[in-house]
Symmetry: C2
Subunit: 444 residues, 2 copies
Amino acid sequence: MKTVDGKNIKRDLCLFDILKLKEGEREGIYTHGTVYSIRDIGGITFIILRKINGLIQCVYDKKGTEEEKKILRVENSVRVKGNLVENEKAPHGLEILVEDIELISVPEKELPIKVNDYKLDIALENEIAVRPIILRNERRRSTFKIEEGLVRGFRKYLEGNDFTEIFSPKIVAAGAEGGSNIFKLEYFGKKAYLAQSPQFYKQTLIPVYERVFEIAPVFRAEKHNTMRHLNEYISVDFEMGFIKDFYDVINMETGMIKYALSYLKENYKDYLDIVKADVPEFDTIPCVTFKEAKEMASAKYNRPIRDPYDLEPEEERLIGQLFKEDYNSDFVFVTHYPVKKRPFYAMDDPENPKYTLSFDLLFRGMEVTTGGQRIHNYKDQVEKMKSKGLDPADFESYLMLHKYGCPPHGGLGMGLERFTMQLIGLKNIRQTSMFPRDTLRLVP
Amino acid sequence: MKTVDGKNIKRDLCLFDILKLKEGEREGIYTHGTVYSIRDIGGITFIILRKINGLIQCVYDKKGTEEEKKILRVENSVRVKGNLVENEKAPHGLEILVEDIELISVPEKELPIKVNDYKLDIALENEIAVRPIILRNERRRSTFKIEEGLVRGFRKYLEGNDFTEIFSPKIVAAGAEGGSNIFKLEYFGKKAYLAQSPQFYKQTLIPVYERVFEIAPVFRAEKHNTMRHLNEYISVDFEMGFIKDFYDVINMETGMIKYALSYLKENYKDYLDIVKADVPEFDTIPCVTFKEAKEMASAKYNRPIRDPYDLEPEEERLIGQLFKEDYNSDFVFVTHYPVKKRPFYAMDDPENPKYTLSFDLLFRGMEVTTGGQRIHNYKDQVEKMKSKGLDPADFESYLMLHKYGCPPHGGLGMGLERFTMQLIGLKNIRQTSMFPRDTLRLVP
């Protein structure tokens, strides 16, 4: 009977293996990849292979043969045998002198666009429609490797700080964030919704695990199509108990971001270079109240405050600019948002009940996180619900948390695509979601 | 201006800190937790605190005081100052002689059930309704720590094998798995669905990253309520390119499971002990064809084969039993499933086109994984779609993969809750989903 033992079957070398080969190990190596581009320089043919972690150059000298006609085609999958030699002009300073190429798979059609072009001269609108092939571009695939790297960094930091990873349901009976931006679905004859956030579940698990996190999709039926909104995005959520105040949450996020950015620089350097990301270096992040932040931006840029209870995107941008110019900081925590703009679970500021013990994090002038301390006392929570026009009876299982006891706690939700967008310096959030969902798009 | 630096603010010791304290460091320590249970033994009061990674015993000697009345209440959140001493009867062989207790938070009501009871005498039906509090039970919270540990192990293994983590959309325009078990929703005037699997996206990303994985919710509108079905569950999905055949996928899964189980034993021992999990030890996993497996079970247990093209749950159970009895294996790969039972992207077996190059993994007699090799040739895929009554025009963006080239590839999807259920030896999948979704349940 056939059995498997799970031991790594490695027939071919990956890029990292190749980069580590010493003198004497470089002859007769095997590797595989996809033909990314073909160049003819001074009569010599170079094949650039796309591999898992980057590109490798192959020198091919079977000009004019039958084999050449079959092999030399972009997006062919091939297996190569050859000798590795140094060439300072090649990627990683190495190239493979091809002895033999085996053709593994051939495309049906030629690519309709030059995917191997660094600049990719295509409008975003059109690009999204052909993302399945555009993602084969080195720069595009680097964007999403960086997103992966951020997630790994965030997760490692939270795991190291005793957070438990949770998986909360996405089909729910009530919205956590209120408002009308919620997707409805039919669920075996009942009305159901798609979760706007894991808020209720994160809080419910505070007495269980004290610290929890989840990195998962959330769904917002926002009707406006903007550069910074998606209808489905990845939310990096955490919640922590036994806090002294919400600055414990702010501090945890600061540590998490610092860790993830240094993790990226250490492990994703090639990708950061490809997209030319400017990774911020910092020791501390300033905190300023909502009211102060508005006033500072208004004074400095001579812009009247129109609505004292809301922060317009343009104001966010100016606050970001101010903190860059005056404090050399890419980040700023804006604290104490008005009660009006925060959901019913936000704790009011005892010193000024028009404001809450909450915050947003602005990264280069854009909100990337919303968080704060939550109400943990049962009576306070019931009262706050009523003051917001909600019926506590609709939240019976959520309120078990408050009724049967839980410590003071707080947490946050960070939009992964927004954070990545600001890190790389992109202009549209659809550039950091592989297959974006907006009001017009369900495909691909 | 206030600033934060992200450095760990640790006012109190966590359980791992406490366990590491040496002589001379054990006086006047601070910790916090929730009162899990209170015991009076021989006139001495013991308070068991629930902390992040387990329980710690505190000895309390302020009998008859006003403080006692306030403190001695289950689910109170408290901060304790005291001296750590050895006591072989206490959890971890240690206990804290309390000097001072600070009351941090008090429940509004007493728990309606004895959550600190190991056995938890409550029917599953009733338990699910009060999961927000039942999860505070040591045994229940251990189940989901083990689930977390499995995910960490799977992820670490896949990351170490050069898989890229992806985040595919859950709101989609077409189902990947076919059939009617798909949730519909209204999406800005268009018809949309909830993703049954990340299949199309995983495959689309094969030419981009060669190896990808995703651990995320999937949605199945199955109308039957069984012990092993959920309508929303966590799917551990991976897909790998440049495979020789589907045994490469089987081998990768075997390695992943081996790694995750040993990772669990190393890092989640306390939790495994609490739920009394029997973690399988194995070197190899046997592989047997669908046809053979059916015949073997039929012969051994004298059970006629009713449908040669399907595997009934009872047959799965018997095949599992047979491989345990005759080969001492908790796992068995059943390969070469009939074309009829596999989706349109499954590759047919060239040696017998009634069967596919696919497999299921049975774990203790239950299917926990489905996988196989996928069609990568454009013409073959179009033809197969037509033979299954599908219109290739409906799959235009998925077919870009095949049209513009991709290497031979395969992958799988594993149900996390099922795997955990079989590992722990539970009887109902609702025991391994914190907040299960079935045809009757949307709350909590």
